[in-house]
Structure formats: C-alpha cells, structure tokens
Symmetry: C2
Subunit: 215 residues, 2 copies
C-alpha cells in the first residue's frame, strides 16, 4: 500500500487502505472500490489491472486476494448484494408491514440506482444473460431472491388488508421490477428529467390497482 | 470473399456474400451479420476482427467499408433500427388504429426480443449509458422515437374512444416499456418459463386501466 500514512494522504480511499492495513479489512475496502468501479465499467470490464490502478494496490497483492478474474467478479457481486441488503432491504424491513414497507423499498431502490454507473445488477444482467457460468448462476439467484422479497412484502399488504386478496404477489413483483427498469433506462440512458415523476406515478398506479384488486 | 461459388458453399451466409458481390449489397449483408453478432457480444464487443471471422471477409475489406469501430457501431445501430421498423413498427401500423395496433406492437416486440442475444437496444443502452459520444446520442434518439411512437398509438386509442381521455400517453409508454424490459430481464437472464405469461398479463392490466381511465 502506497501513501499509507495520514500525512501523505491524497485520496480518502487510499488513506483508508493505509489505516486498515492487511487482511479481511483490506479485502472489504478493495471490494468497495471494485464495486464502485464495476458500476461504471461493468463486471466484465473490471480487470485486476484496472483495480490495481484504482486502489493503488499491487497487481500481485490483488491476485493473492482474488486469484482469478472470475472469482473477483463473484466477490464483487456478493459485495454489491450485501450493500443492496444494507441500503435497500434491511432499512425497508424497519418500516411497518405492507404498503409502507413497499414504499420504502421503492424509494430506496431509486436512490440505489441513482449513482454513477447505475445499478450494478441491471448492467450485469445484460452482460451475463448469454453466459452459463457461475457469475450468471449467482446473478439469477440474487434476481430470484429480490423478486421473492418484493412478493413477500406484497403478501404482507394483503394480510394487512391494504391490498385486495385477489392480487398476485409474483405478478406485482414482475410489474414493479418493470417500473424500476424503465426508470433506470429513462433516467440513465436518455437523461430524461421527468423519469422520477414517471416512475413514482407508475408505482402509485400499481398500488391503486392492488388496493382495488384489479392487479 | 472466399467460398463464393455455389459449389463450394459451406455456410448459407458466405454463399450470399459470394452471389451478391461487392458494393452496397455486400455492405447490407455484412451489417446483417454484424447485427446478429452484436446482439450476442454487445456493440462494444463487435470488432472488425470478430466481424471478419464471422463474415469470412478480409479485415482490410471491412475497414474499407467502415473505417473505424465507432462508425461500424453506428452503422450496426442504424441497421438494427431499420430492422426494428421493418419487423415491429411497420407491420403494426397495418393493424387498425388504437388498441389493435398496440397489441400488434406488443406481440411483435416480444418476438423481436426472443432471439439469440436478445434486444440489441436494451444491451446497448446499458453499454453506452455512461458514454456521451455519437453512439449514445443515436441510441437516445432511437429510444425517444420509440417511446413517442407508442404514445402516438395510445393517442389513437383515445381518439377511437377505446381508452379514457384521461390517459397520459407518455406515462402509458413509460409503463409499457417497463413491462417489456421486465420481460426481457426475466426471460433472458433468469430463463423463467412464466415470463411471457407475466408480460402478457401486465400488458392486459395496462389496457384495462387505460379503458377505465385510472392510468
């Protein structure tokens, strides 16, 4: 680690590497940097070389941690998933069951996607959809878990009597995911200033339908 | 062009190159092959080298046609847009105005996405959303045109009295696009057998809402 002393710190992140030193903490800090980078260049664009430049760690040090590009990709994916749970899922679970929880999920997912490079999972889905390797399998599992989590919250809204008993939770999850993807697309690719309003209205439309039971 | 005579044809496509010869027709045939390839490897993965292998044309011949990777990307994007108009937009315009036309658009879009590699535009959107070059600008323009086309058909459905006058055509387009993206994601990444049913139901839900005017 270069520039490790407090005095010579130029960038906050390299400082951090200096302070935490070796081992598990370094690994976490590297994964943090790798996840930010992968959001912009894609998981496939994330090479050990690119990461060495970003973290100021040596290539050989990084190889010692990750061994191969694929295990780096898998580690980044898992790290991003943990961040997603910390930033979106866990705080949403603090909200009351049903609709309030769903609103929290939606608001937090929008914030999650509103970062440089956008949502890592959306990009990785396109990068790996023709693949059949371990990264693809991991992504599919995370995707299923995420849709199941949404469906589970919808079930809570039905139990609470907020949504009609006729609502299909998996169908709701599919449609909400569509709203999120459409938002991601319009906001990130097109840069449309109304993207957030459109997404919010689409979300409210979904809720209205679920309440009156036409979903 | 190698293998150009009828007798020595091993692959249909290389035959085709042999028969049509040089000039504009070769360019079209190359773009056809390039578009198929780009669907799988992405626009960024489409190099002159990859294309030479696929078409059995020489690299120097391909350079003569396309000059740079960027102009190849732009040409492929334009070619894919023309194909999209031929396969989705133009046939849909043959259907009666309003809802029947919208149904035709939806069915044809699903078929368009159900090919090896999926929809080129969905993949390119993720590949180029952090870019600000000519390929990005082209993509944004195509994306806007597509959403505008959907909104225009929705306006027709309002004029025909099929949809409530309170329906916001741009909001409808945003939500329909979400259904398509969610379908693409679930079908291609997750390989979910119910993806098509889910998408069809989501589409019908949108139509129902537009008829009763809660969109």
């Amino acid at each position: 680690v270069r520039g490790g002393s407090q005095q010579s710190c130029e960038y906050e992140r390299s400082c951090y590497f200096g302070i935490v030193g070796k081992g598990e903490q370094t690994r976490t800090a590297v994964l943090e940097a790798a996840t930010d980078k992968a959001r912009v260049v894609g998981l496939r664009g994330l090479t050990i070389g690119v990461l060495a430049e970003r973290t100021e760690l040596s290539k050989s040090g990084l190889f010692a941690h990750f061994r191969s590009k694929e295990s780096l990709q898998l580690a980044v994916l898992e790290h991003a998933r943990n961040r997603f749970i910390d930033e979106v899922v866990r705080p949403a679970l603090q909200a009351p069951r049903g609709e309030p929880r769903l609103r929290e999920v939606f608001a937090r997912w929008v914030s999650w996607a509103d970062v440089p490079g956008g949502c890592l999972f959306v990009a990785a889905a396109v990068e790996f959809d023709d693949d059949r390797g371990p990264v693809h399998r991991q992504l599919v599992q995370y995707q299923r878990d995420w849709l199941d989590s949404i469906a589970q919250i919808v079930r809570g809204a039905i139990t609470e009597g907020q949504f009609s008993p006729g609502v299909d939770p998996d169908q709701f999850a599919f449609e909400l995911h569509g709203v999120m993807l459409s938002y991601h697309h319009l906001s990130r690719l097109v840069g449309d200033a109304h993207a957030r309003d459109r997404a919010t209205r689409a979300f409210e439309n979904l809720l209205t339908r679920a309440r009156i039971g036409t979903a």
